[in-house]
């Protein structure tokens, strides 16, 4: 108890407690794709941050790859008719 109080006193102006930070870290852990594989035991926060960085980087790479495929597809197909069909199927 006293250790937590002294820690919050050390952090000075920020009133965020360690509990809130660990809550946020566990929520981040739930977002990771591996959360489904292992049991939802708490990973150390450094591990969560590392996995989050890797996940964000892989998502960036995937966006690059998908935009390349999209640009190739847009070159070949007719935009307007395909677009109408897609909008219809996506929004209904």
């Amino acid at each position: 108890m006293s250790s937590r109080r002294s820690r919050s006193r050390q952090s000075g102006s920020s009133r965020i407690t360690d509990e809130q930070i660990s809550d946020l870290v566990s929520k981040l852990q739930d977002l990771l794709p591996e959360a489904r594989l292992r049991s939802n035991d708490r990973m150390p926060s450094s591990r969560v941050l590392q996995e989050t960085c890797n996940y964000i980087r892989s998502l960036h790479r995937e966006v690059d790859d998908l935009s390349e495929r999209l640009s190739e597809l847009l070159a070949t197909s007719d935009m307007s008719s395909a677009q109408a069909a897609i909008i219809r199927s996506l929004l209904m």
Binding site: Q20, I21, S71, L73, L74, A75
Partner: protein, 196 residues
């Protein structure tokens, strides 16, 4: 590349009423799929006459990040940072072109180039949203309890440099959700396109 099946939708977490409002509003809505689709498709429909595959890829990637930022709530710092980057890129390209035109009028010998190689590489890096091309700000450690890994995270999340550790975690989660929704949307579009 093997086709990726879309992951099943996650059940929404019901915010605990006993927790402070700070956490309750954070566990709120995931990005709206129709808004994401609307912004992205509108950006795609504006692409015409760009012939090179490489330039079209770059335009589509930028459109993906911009539409992701527009579909998100403007409360989000990463959304504002992405839109600010896009705006800066557009104004920088315009000023670059104005400088080139002036130089061309003076010399009248240089071959016409769309953008100088230096600015092009800078825009590519900025488009990735990973490094800020304006004077590289030293990332100050905001709190003592902040782990060293947060430095890499700050560089990855747009606008993450000037945030406190707590807001950084919050923004990261929202950015992750939006990124995932954007990837799902693009994958779905590709599937639809290739079936036609």
């Amino acid at each position: 590349m093997d086709t990726k099946s879309t992951p099943p939708p996650r059940p929404h977490q019901i915010p605990n009423p006993s927790r402070p409002d700070f956490l309750a509003c954070w566990a709120a809505a995931s990005p709206s799929k129709p808004m994401l689709a609307f912004h992205f498709l509108r950006a795609l429909s504006r692409i015409h006459g760009v012939t090179t595959v490489r330039r079209r890829t770059r335009t589509i990637r930028r459109a993906a990040y911009s539409s992701m930022a527009r579909a998100a709530s403007p409360r989000r710092a990463w959304s504002r940072a992405l839109l600010g980057q896009a705006r800066a890129r557009r104004s920088r390209t315009l000023t670059g072109r104005a400088v080139l035109l002036r130089r061309r009028r003076i010399t009248a010998a240089a071959p016409p180039q769309p953008s100088s190689p230096a600015s092009r590489s800078a825009t590519i890096i900025a488009a990735r949203g990973e490094i800020s091309t304006a004077a590289a700000r030293p990332l100050p450690p905001r709190q003592e309890g902040e782990p060293p890994r947060a430095d890499a995270l700050r560089r990855l999340v747009p606008g993450g440099a000037g945030m406190e550790y707590c807001s950084l975690l919050e923004e990261t989660a929202d950015y992750l959700r939006s990124l995932r929704a954007q990837v799902q949307l693009m994958q779905g579009l590709i599937d639809l396109f290739s079936c036609q």
